[in-house]
Symmetry: C2
Subunit: 386 residues, 2 copies
């Protein structure tokens, strides 16, 4: 590997936990950290000193609400220098590569998209290399690259199987590393999004957290104890066998009445096409459903009930503290949110803990950002954990 010295590896376990806590949970004073990490004040002074000397952390002016007047010596928040390093995340789709540049805190500072005209691995790697070159010219602090791909990814490096790219066993990480000289992490796109939301997004600091994505397919991510649980079928057709309505529609993909048949964008478009002959976009279908056009309204209503049922099942069995609904296919909530809610409530125990559902209609740059987070994790944790 041609990886630069790009790791917090020399940190002791204690130091790293401090660094991660500050990275993920914003500026924190040493006293805050004693509570969060359950360490003594003395230990915190010891742990933070080398981190500050190395420049990884800095003392920042107290940004707390200036109105609130507190007695005693003011606390001295510590923060990472988010701009000290930048990361590049790619989301590779069938015909486009979406790229984002982020800070150490996963804030997007630039975007860069390119059409993908070939699926030849070497040429795709060339394109990614070119795009990286452009970024390096603008951002000298580029530290690592993350790539999100739909399909099965092994060891965070090799695309084992990707139907839409027609790849199998392509060592994408190595190909891009050779062209850029930067450390590269490749991961399944859903897994990347889940990691990103767990570290910096909706699932930050949670113990049990679920991400459900709806788009061209269904994606599912389970986070327990702050770590993503890997699964054997790993995005090779999630939700095809989740039967939500045995009387549901039959579509080319998935079992009859499955989550895939009821909820994914291609299936919804297929249902409309089959019923009306019109080839409408997802947005058009939503608009017509909102306007009360019977056929679209019926399909969207059925989808909304399926989504409510699905979320209820997850809530009932996983007992997550939060569920994030993401992807382009959650737009139906804007139109049929009430149906989703009602169905969800009907399938849950009245005494069950209220469920925190967050909706985020993500675009491709959000997926790319997820991939960038993986590069951040590798820097922070040292090794690409699986």
């Amino acid at each position: 590997m041609t990886t630069r010295a790009a790791s917090w590896q020399p940190l002791s376990p204690g130091e790293r936990s401090v660094a991660i806590e500050v990275l993920v949970h914003g500026p924190l004073s040493r006293t805050d950290l004693t509570r969060r990490l359950d360490l003594s004040a003395g230990s915190l002074t010891r742990l933070t000193k080398p981190l500050i000397e190395s420049g990884l952390l800095v003392e920042v002016p107290d940004g707390g609400s200036p109105a609130e007047v507190r007695q005693g010596r003011p606390s001295q928040p510590l923060d990472v220098v988010a701009e000290s390093r930048t990361f590049l995340g790619f989301k590779v789709t069938e015909d486009m590569v979406y790229g984002v540049v982020t800070t150490l805190r996963s804030e997007i500072v630039a975007r860069l998209d390119r059409p993908l005209t070939t699926h030849d691995p070497a040429q795709v790697a060339d394109l990614l290399g070119e795009m990286t070159g452009e970024i390096t010219a603008r951002f000298r602090t580029l530290t690592g690259i993350g790539i999100g791909v739909g399909g099965l990814v092994q060891d965070r490096a090799v695309v084992g199987e990707s139907p839409f790219l027609q790849w199998s066993d392509v060592p994408l990480a190595q190909l891009v590393e050779e062209r850029t000289g930067l450390p590269v992490v490749v991961e399944n796109d859903v897994a990347a999004l889940v990691e990103a939301e767990t570290w910096f997004g909706a699932g930050r600091g949670l113990d049990r957290f679920v991400v459900l994505t709806i788009g061209a397919g269904i994606g599912y991510g389970l986070v327990l104890g702050g770590k993503r649980v890997p699964y054997a079928e790993e995005d090779r057709g999630f939700g095809r066998h989740w039967i939500l309505n045995p009387n549901g529609p039959i579509t080319p993909a998935g079992q009859r009445g499955s989550a895939v048949s009821l909820l994914t964008i291609p299936s919804i478009r297929y249902q409309i096409r089959a019923a009306t002959g019109l080839d409408l976009t997802y947005e058009e279908i939503l608009a017509r459903a909102a306007a009360g056009e019977p056929m679209p309204a019926r399909v969207i209503d059925e989808a909304a009930r399926a989504l409510g049922t699905l979320v209820a099942q997850i809530a009932n069995f996983v007992l997550p503290q939060k569920i994030l609904l993401a992807g382009e296919g959650v737009g139906l909530i804007d139109v049929a949110g009430k149906t989703v809610d009602d169905t969800l409530r009907a399938h849950r125990h009245p005494l069950a803990a209220p469920l925190d559902v967050e909706t985020k209609v993500s675009d491709f740059h959000d997926w790319a950002r997820g991939a960038a987070v993986l590069a951040i994790q590798v820097l922070v944790l040292g090794v690409a954990e699986v």
Copy 2:
């Protein structure tokens, strides 16, 4: 509290982890323990020495297969003295109290049942006190008492709400402690069974583990990271809103087609009664279904499909390493196991990791044993953790 000195509390964290590992995972040599606990050999000598001196652990003759010849110095397994202490577990039902006496390893060494003729809290406590008296006479090493009750239990001490006993806010632990002078833990019966299976049963050593019980009602227990996840609705009608078949039967309990309506013993008996007018026992229904009698066969078949669906949903969303089906109502698997299996397979991804399903038709003594495990945990962990 009138608790005797009954705790491993003075143990250091390292010592306790050694003690628990040996308690739960049978005799282990010091070298085994180095691997399991990731400690050095030196540390193990240090940690085990006081445990042996205090009598908590003993060196036992190597029970390993004597045929297998190994080189080098033979290992010296350590074990707890399972018989050094005994524990008493009660399962309180509407008309009976079932009691078991167990060793430190949760092996049942005696049983004691009594009819429950009153629901008056003081008199129930009197009965439990009497039964404890009998046991103390035979087992001088009695160390603690665990009580399992259907319903909502707070702080492992107070029965907050128990419909079938018509109790609310009964400080049962205190009542029994006053009469016995022994430490008492009270817990929801399902929670107790789950803890027992997690420590000493099917879920031993697993990270993600689910217990599903079927009997008079549905019980669900989720174990993540070796710890049971508490839930808000806590056995106040689990499964009433898990709709498994929207076209399913309507019964007095639960929503139409819910797990309760399809699977619990009262609901199955109700369906048969409503259809045929016969008031058959669950066993009779199973026998007639096995014999091919149409109506029972149809009901059991529908239940089997519901169970397969339910297990598949749990497997799909929780990704457990193992699912334990327990309770008296899992007997239908003997009759319609193939239907359960087929339905389960149909609702799972072909590439998903194979699921380990264990079935255990438990009786009331198994529930009582679960309660006894809680008393063991209190001794071992020092405090009743929630």
